[in-house]
């Protein structure tokens, strides 16, 4: 075929239907958020208040920090289910070392707790990248290993952590803004910047889109993949520190729901499970939506079990939307 023109409608990439649906996935998130806000405002007079806004922000922070890292990992074709166990292990390690004042210094304990995340990230990265074991299986394994370890360390008990300076990290405010929200803001900002404006960001998308093409273009595929697991572990550790600080206590049960909500947020945010496509902004919006949903349900005094159920439904719907976009795109 010597005529190498393009179909006019293809000029943006994708079929019209796929473009339309991807827009739903992107800007549609804003619309969904708006609808939720209007709905909950009509249902509860406590919803649209500055206090509640910042309360949502501080709850969203831990989830958001993990979800930003997970976004890059899934874009690159990886996956990290172990984040929930990192949250639990980090908190438990802090509690065990601090001994509610009788043990180590709280900040030293927090640092060791944080390094647990780093450790889990290195283990995940090494197993997936060096031993070439499927990321889903690997992190399902480490999820089990490190939650087990958290239970073992405390014999399943809850540890109280009373330390006002430490609590400031998770529950304190600078002016009207929660400290945890500022930390989330920084992580999200860096994430958005890396995705959009850096060579590393471009490389991560390339690896997810076609790892062999990336490798044969000189991108250090394995190094980047390993690094993303480490970052995911480390940021899960940071989230664990924040959660521990917010609760003023730690328990091996704390992390359990996080794995599900992190993955839900990333997929809902429009990142493709198949890799190569995704957005940090989408993830941040999805995190806010999930948290608003949770907050609104709590204000309406819905059972927390209903909240868990709704999370599952949202996850499946998000994957369905992703699948539809991809099918129409081919």
């Amino acid at each position: 075929m010597s005529h190498e023109a393009l179909t006019p409608r293809a000029a943006g990439g994708g079929t019209t239907k796929a473009v339309w649906l991807r827009r739903i996935q992107g800007q549609g998130l804003l619309l969904v958020l708006l609808i939720l806000i209007v709905f909950f405002t009509t249902q509860s007079k406590y919803f649209l208040t500055p206090q509640n806004f910042f309360s949502i922000g501080s709850v969203a922070s831990a989830l958001g920090i993990m979800a930003v890292a997970q976004t890059f990992l899934i874009i690159s074709g990886g996956f990290d289910l172990s984040v929930g166990s990192v949250v639990a292990l980090t908190g438990v390690v802090i509690g065990v070392l601090f001994q509610n004042g009788a043990g180590l210094d709280i900040w030293l304990s927090a640092l060791v707790g944080l390094s647990m995340g780093l450790l889990v990230g290195i283990v995940n990265g090494a197993v997936v990248v060096a031993l070439r074991i499927n990321a889903l299986i690997t992190t399902l394994g480490t999820l089990s290993i490190f939650s087990g370890m958290a239970y073992l360390l405390t014999a399943g008990k809850t540890l109280i952590i009373t330390s006002p300076p430490f609590q400031f990290l998770g529950s304190g405010y600078i002016g009207p803004v929660p400290v945890s929200m500022i930390i989330f803001g920084i992580v999200a900002g860096v994430g958005i910047f890396v995705a959009r404006y850096t060579g590393l960001g471009r490389s991560i998308f390339a690896i997810g889109g076609n790892p062999e093409a990336a490798r044969l273009s000189g991108i250090p595929v394995r190094k980047v993949q390993f690094g993303l697991f480490v970052v995911s572990g480390l940021l899960a550790g940071l989230a664990g520190v924040l959660i521990t600080s917010q609760l003023g206590a730690s328990s091996p049960q704390v992390g359990e729901t996080y794995t599900l909500s992190v993955v839900t947020a990333v997929i809902l945010g429009g990142t493709s499970l198949a890799g190569g496509r995704g957005s940090v902004v989408g993830t941040v919006l999805a995190v806010v939506i999930l948290t608003v949903l949770q907050n609104g349900f709590a204000l309406l005094q819905f059972s927390s079990y209903v909240q868990t159920m709704s999370l599952g439904i949202v996850l499946i719907l998000a994957v369905l939307l992703d699948e539809t976009v991809r099918r129409l795109d081919r």
Binding site: M1, S2, H3, E4, A5, L6, T7, P8, R9, A10, A11, G12, G13, G14, Y197, T198, G199, L200, R202, S203, F205, A206, G208, G209, N210, E212, A213, A214, R215, L216, S217, G218, I219, P220, G276, R277
Partner: protein, 511 residues
């Protein structure tokens, strides 16, 4: 039926044709994959469909088989107009196709594959294995094939797999059998056997539409040869008027792919030096490529030619040997080789080359990201101007650089890959199958670019299974056989190269 005029659909003979394709057109966007194409096939006739890559052969075959819906035109089978674009209708009318990529289940037995989807059953839905094996044996015997029906398909040779695929599609009611490029991975004797099987089909009155660009086979089997070029039916030769020159001329349409040869003087530096490379079946591979020259490596499938590119750039494991790029030894993987000044266009455009989600721009700059970043941040302006420059230089046809690369034609996709390494300013350029699946106009352009690069002082290595290509572009042609370099030829034609590649035990594919 000799030399039927291309525009009269109904033919002129007394036997009604089994297939009439009447002026079909198929557009992919603005690209005319088929334009006013007509074709008739009589019962029991073998019609070969020839043309360069991208000429529209497969699109026509798929249209006849109902896999592609033409935009305009009619398709008649046994005189009755059939619905377009329905596999079920085409199948019911007796049209069968053996696709280029076989669709067998490797772990299932020959008998299971042949009966797949229509397993003979006993009461309670239990599969009747005896009946299934009998059916498979009967089908194979009809075609004169003798294969153990209980072995898994994965243990068969390529020929036998193809034959099983044919046997599977030969259900009762078959009227026309379409074979799409069946012989690509086969040796001479295997081709003979395949042609014999097709002969049996025609003896049963089944017509064959044989798609190939191997003139040799076409001459042996076809009663008529239809030639497609750029989506148009440009010639329809009867057996009597068929000559190699006429056929080749019709396929390329007078366009020249010649770029001329040039003998590199011994004073030119050896930019790529390979010494004693050993991997897979390849033993002690040594050669050099000088600046200003194009060296082509040719070998049939299985000669060891396939692995050379990846071995040179360090992307696949080697047991021994060294590679030097501009005098610098490299052994640390692709990244190190690229940093030393090497560029590499892989054989498989889709699986090894392009990132499907990326735009032209993002694909084009993938190998130079580090050069375009300052403290990790991409310089968008520099990226844009680099992309503009190389899109222009290679005349990549697209409205802008933001178009998704998968929306381009194969030829333009290949140009994007080439541009990736031109942007990298490679001093040594290794290309595998650089024009596989691209149209002839792009092929000519790519050859001209390679010549220009060599003239500018780049050392170019083309590794290819395309005989015409190596003869056209190679200032020197290195021939591989059984894992070793067996000949170095200068100014050799296709026949000489083929002879060196096949040696005594096989007949050359080009006479």
């Amino acid at each position: 039926m000799t030399a039927a005029a291309t525009t009269t659909p109904a033919g002129g003979s007394s036997v009604p044709p089994v297939l009439v394709v009447d002026r079909i057109t198929k557009l992919y966007g603005a690209v005319e994959a088929l334009k006013d194409v007509s074709l008739t096939v009589a019962p029991g006739e073998v019609v070969a469909l020839c043309g360069e890559n991208g000429a529209g052969k497969s699109t026509l075959a798929r249209a006849v088989a109902g896999l592609v819906r033409p935009d305009t035109g009619r398709i008649l089978v046994d005189g009755a107009e059939r619905h377009l674009g329905s596999v079920a209708v085409a199948h019911a009318a007796g049209i069968r196709i053996a696709p280029q990529e076989l669709t067998l289940a490797p772990s299932l037995s020959v008998a299971e594959n042949i009966s797949m989807g229509r397993l003979p059953r006993r009461a309670l839905g239990i599969v009747d294995h005896g009946a299934m094996r009998d059916l498979a044996r009967r089908r194979l015997a009809d075609l004169g094939i003798d294969i153990d029906v209980s072995v898994p398909v994965e243990r068969l040779s390529v020929l036998h797999k193809t034959l099983v695929q044919i046997a599977r599609s030969m259900t009762p009611g078959a009227r026309l059998f379409i074979v799409d490029e069946p012989t690509a991975p086969m040796s001479g004797p295997e081709v003979d056997q395949l042609l014999a099987v097709l002969g049996r089909l025609t003896a049963q009155g089944i017509a064959v539409l044989y798609i190939s660009h191997r003139l040799d086979e076409v001459f042996r089997i076809a009663q008529r040869v239809a030639v497609l070029r750029d989506g148009r039916m440009v010639a329809d030769f009867g057996r009597a008027e068929l000559t190699r020159a006429a056929l080749a001329g019709a396929m390329v349409g007078g366009r020249s792919l010649e770029i001329g040869h040039r003998t590199a003087s011994a004073t030119e530096a050896v930019a790529l030096q390979v010494r004693g490379l050993r991997f897979e079946t390849v033993r002690d591979l040594s050669f050099g490529v000088r600046t200003h020259e194009i060296v082509a490596v040719y070998g049939v499938s299985g000669s060891g030619r396939e692995g050379i590119g990846l071995a040179i750039i360090g992307a696949s494991p080697v047991e021994a040997g060294t590679v030097e790029i501009l005098g610098v030894p490299v052994s640390g993987g692709p990244r190190q080789a690229f940093d030393a000044g090497l560029g590499y266009v892989p054989a498989e455009r889709r699986s090894q080359g392009l990132v499907p989600e990326f735009s032209i721009r993002e694909n084009l700059t993938l190998a130079v990201l580090r050069r375009l970043t300052r403290v990790g941040i991409l310089d968008r302006g520099a990226e844009r101007s680099l992309v503009e420059r190389w899109m222009g230089a290679l005349t990549i046809a697209a409205p802008n650089a933001e178009v998704r690369v998968m929306r381009l034609s194969g030829g333009n996709q290949q140009k994007v890959l080439l541009a990736r390494w031109l942007a990298h300013e490679s001093k040594v350029l290794v290309l595998e199958e650089p024009t596989r699946g691209v149209d002839i106009a792009t092929k000519a352009e790519i050859y001209r670019v390679l010549r220009q690069l060599a003239d500018d002082g780049v050392a170019v290595l083309v590794i290819s299974s395309d005989l015409e290509e190596v003869a056209l572009v190679g200032d020197r042609v290195l021939v591989m056989r059984n894992g070793a370099l067996v000949a170095e030829l200068q100014g050799a034609d296709e026949t000489e190269i083929a002879r060196a590649a096949l040696a005594a035990e096989e007949t050359p594919v080009v006479a």
